[in-house]
Symmetry: C2
């Protein structure tokens, strides 16, 4: 997992082009627009919601949902995006240009709050070591009710 934290858009783009070149893949308008849209609308996207946004923003490109899936999978394989899998109804993807973090998810409004915590990361390493397990990555999600939704009730 290479370090792509805190990169601005141009650097992400360069990195993406590099990955494409190294794999004999081509840089297309569709691929560009997926990356750019995820960057500009910093958020957690379902393939569907990203698809909708792309149709709206670039109607002339006529992007297909299959391309969105293909591009997201490509970006994930290249460690440029990360996916979260919730209970049901598919994954959400986020651009990996931020330091590693985990997520708190509100059960009421589905809002996602990001947080980082080194203490937990460190403890995870210790636990893995104890079991002789070689850690590559993890996912942690805290579920509950966010401040806003608590007040509404």
């Amino acid at each position: 997992m290479a370090d792509i934290e805190n990169m601005e858009y141009d650097s992400l783009l360069v990195r993406f082009k590099d990955i494409l070149k190294h794999n004999n893949l081509k840089f297309t308008k569709q691929r560009e627009v997926v990356l750019k849209t995820m960057y500009n609308n910093d958020d957690h996207f379902s393939p569907e919601s990203l698809y909708m946004l792309l149709k709206e923003s670039y109607p002339e490109l006529n992007v297909g949902i299959a391309t969105v899936y293909r591009t997201l999978n490509l970006l994930e394989d290249s460690d440029m995006v990360t996916s979260l899998s919730f209970g049901s109804s598919g994954k959400k993807f986020e651009l990996g240009n931020k330091p590693h973090h985990d997520h708190m998810i509100c059960k009421v409004c589905d809002d996602i709050i990001e947080f980082e915590d080194n203490a937990i990361e460190k403890r995870q390493e210790e636990i893995a070591n104890k079991y002789g397990f070689k850690l590559t990555n993890h996912m942690m999600q805290l579920y509950g009710i966010c401040q806003k939704c608590q007040k509404k009730q």
Copy 2:
């Protein structure tokens, strides 16, 4: 989330019957057999694998996959089983008769190692408090390569 830790099978059964009664639902052979099978073969089941095991163990009941899904959902709603959602290919369910724990998942052999860690649980509470977030539950999964599979390579 009521406390159903460390219950033996009979207590689980009583609890299940109570839940059914309170909701005007019926105690059927199929529902009984799902609970019993999960208890006897303490494991993480996909609906499919549980279904296979049921067909093998109780061929005369002729259980349908739909009933397995319905029963697992019912048990989950009643907080008697918990589900894990992995990257893709659906959820796995486990009976909630053990203290809370999290999972390490081997990317090579798909083996699941359970562990508990109070330090992390406590830290999660602290983080949630910091954001005014009311925590109800969480899931944490560590991905990597287990000891066995490391040796094989």
